[in-house]
Symmetry: C2
Subunit: 453 residues, 2 copies
């Protein structure tokens, strides 16, 4: 019996193009609207915050978009990332399922985020930008952009959601080691931040607030641009290297996935692994498979949000997009998966779910950590709290295979490692964590404030 | 111009044997003595704490020792580890040097330590052992053994040097996530620990003390054995996969190293990268190269210790070996590189330095962190504080190349990442760290207590 556990590709097999699912979707994406006029945005509307090349990718309809050679050169530092067969986990679960995981924690910043950070830093460098301003939740995006800015000689300023800033001082330390300036959000540095603090000086912050602060700073400085780590089409596009590689690696393994699983906050690691498979399915190149988006129970935009036009940020500086949303003023509770604490969902991920090409499910916090620990003991890799949500859903599927006596092939994306999240693991093991109930009232209030489009 | 930055091997190129430098050294190693009788130890003396297969490796004289297939299978999870050309660091330093680094931080536990932990857990499993007891300084060895024990279904108990236990709660969290029991050393759990605490209730601990506690526990439990993470011949042996791979990778890069650099605490990562190159040099298969062992200024066994017979631990439970030592009762100050806080040095590393095959140098704490940050900004990888010592020596060599206008090829081992050491980086950036002077008096006192052999 072949006991192979790792499926590696050659550097030459790193994709040469990013995959744009827009080319294959049954319907075109809903137009993006200007937050003031409610008319479709034009490239000129976006020019103050993004370089032209990024704007072009945001509205692109070609199936394949070339990866610039300098970006692909840097990808080679950690790509192709490994695909593993989780044989020890299968044995521990005594499941007939074949479990594969794509591991994005091998990047220097420890997650999938550099796949887009390197690309965005490159396009901004080429456009003559001097400073990139961004937000970060758990800090995975912020540290990735800080690293990428170094590689291209750009300055980097990060607004970090306050609850994560406090929970994860070592993610901040990583960004500062890379030379970035890091500010807890909401802050006194911006108009938006000062207004939020005036309303609630104890605000835990949210990705929506931090985005508002970063956009404000970038829009006011002619040498600066803004960079977003998820949600937008171009970010999802950059992440498709994950799924393209995984598809080749599954072929090396001689198997086809029956289920593809990833966690969803803004949607970028999910889209990264899932979209290339969905595209092959849409083009009739692959059998039908289940695609599973896994959300935290306390912030379930796909499963319990409205599919409606909403703002991407709290201060309503960003364009309005059609997506699954819990309302832009909703502040998720401070659970330990900062990367999943976002009120909305990537419009393309929302559309894929609406069109029945993927399904969504939720996992409570305690189950996510129990799953992460079981995974770590079997495989040696400690997943990030965000990834633990995907692992929990994976374990459910593996157990279902056992119950049904069916040996399905499961593919999960481990979007990053948990090395900077050990306080959360300590708290879990000490019995200090709880589940968060679905914030019924807060979300109803936030949804009542959806824009009238 | 070839801009390649990563040099990967195939899984089939993971070494099939470990390299035993004893076969090539000009002189046989000095005999190891029993701590009570001062006579050469016999395998029977070691049987209470090590399984037979490990004892056989400790005294082996064959050049090549086969790696068991189950060990090599697990190595495949992260091996062959990558070799990188540090082109961005070269550019930042504006040096004509060609800088290569072997990166062992890709292992699931984040350092080179699993290379031996997997092997030791395997041999103990085969021997029917149920519990492995060990010590750890920075926690890299302890977390590696905790992981390895999981893979083979063994229990794991770790005595962690108290200063590291306090400085690095997240390394402890990692061990606990892997299911190990972790105790701060000196502890009340052992006779040795109680005696040490009676003398000094505030003891910061040391590797020498933690070794004594672990050996005591293992020797008293018939189902338990002891595992050591460095110093001994069999541990160094297991680490030679690093240098064997690096030699193949340098050939892929089309270059031969002029200088090989690694940090030295107990000596295992140094031996791992250096011994295969030294062996090739001794056998006339390679031109002469410089081999550089880098120590912390506050614990410089190779550069300022005596080359003499000494105990490996504080309580004098372990055999007496001939090595560079600062005295077994010396307690190094609490600088942030716990893996380098050991009074002695691997006997084989000591012998290699004594025979003029390698040279040693020291680096102060502040220079080590400055070097680590410069490396991180250029390469995206944050080295462990231990590895920062090697990086500091690398930067000195690269600067010398620039001054002399000579483009030497430098190869450094980055033994692990610093993800669990971000507090040290934060403290450094906040100006809270200092250099430690050479502890002249303490070391003189400890050296006065060398055994009379």
């Amino acid at each position: 019996m072949n006991q192979q556990i790792k499926f590696l590709l050659q550097e030459s097999e790193i994709p040469h193009t990013w995959y744009n699912i827009v080319a294959d979707l049954p319907h075109p994406p809903a137009p993006v609207l200007h937050p003031a006029t409610l008319q479709p945005v034009t490239p000129a509307d976006l020019a103050p915050i993004f370089p032209d090349a990024v704007i072009a990718q945001e509205v692109a309809t070609e199936r394949e978009i070339p990866i610039p050679e300098p970006v692909r050169e840097i990808y080679k530092q950690w790509r192709p990332s490994p695909l593993f067969r989780a044989r020890r986990l299968e044995a521990a679960l005594d499941t007939p399922a074949h479990i594969y995981y794509k591991y994005e924690g091998v990047s220097p910043a420890g997650s999938h985020k550099p796949n887009s950070a390197i690309a965005q830093a490159y396009y901004n460098k080429v456009a003559g930008v001097k400073l990139l301003v961004t937000e970060t939740g758990a800090g995975q995006w912020g540290s990735s952009l800080a690293m990428a800015c170094n590689f291209f000689g750009l300055a980097c300023q990060v607004y970090m959601v306050r609850v994560s800033y406090n929970q994860k001082p070592y993610r901040r330390a990583l960004m500062e080691t890379f030379g970035a300036k890091v500010t807890a959000s909401p802050s006194c540095e911006t108009e938006v931040g000062r207004a939020l603090l005036a309303k609630n000086p104890e605000s835990a912050g949210s990705l929506g607030m931090a985005i508002s602060e970063a956009v404000e700073v970038a829009a006011q400085n002619p040498d600066a641009k803004y960079a977003l780590g998820s949600v937008l089409n171009h970010v999802l596009l950059h992440q498709t290297v994950i799924g393209q590689e995984a598809a080749l690696q599954m072929r090396l393994a001689g198997e086809e996935p029956d289920v593809v699983i990833a966690c969803t906050g803004g949607g970028s690691n999910f889209a990264g692994i899932a979209f290339p498979f969905v595209g092959q399915m849409l083009r009739g190149e692959r059998k039908k498979l289940r695609v599973l988006a896994v959300e935290p129970e306390a912030c379930p935009s796909l499963t319990r949000g409205h599919y409606a036009y909403d703002y991407g940020d709290t201060a309503h500086l960003t364009p309005i997009t059609k997506m699954h949303t819990l309302g832009s003023t909703f502040v998720p509770p401070g659970f330990h998966a900062g990367g999943l604490r976002y009120h909305g969902m990537a419009p393309l991920v929302s559309q894929v779910v609406e069109e029945g090409l993927a399904e969504a499910t939720t996992v409570p916090q305690l189950e996510s950590f129990a799953a992460g620990i079981q995974f770590a003991r079997a495989e040696g890799i400690v997943p990030a709290p965000e990834s633990n949500h995907a692992v929990a859903a994976l374990l459910r599927e593996a157990k279902r295979c056992k119950e049904e006596g069916v040996g399905r092939t499961l593919l999960v994306n481990i979007s990053g490692h948990g090395h900077f999240d050990m306080q959360a693991y300590l708290d879990y093991m000490a019995g200090k964590l709880t589940n968060y109930a679905y914030p019924e009232e807060e979300i109803a209030m936030a949804l009542a404030g959806l824009p009238n489009v």
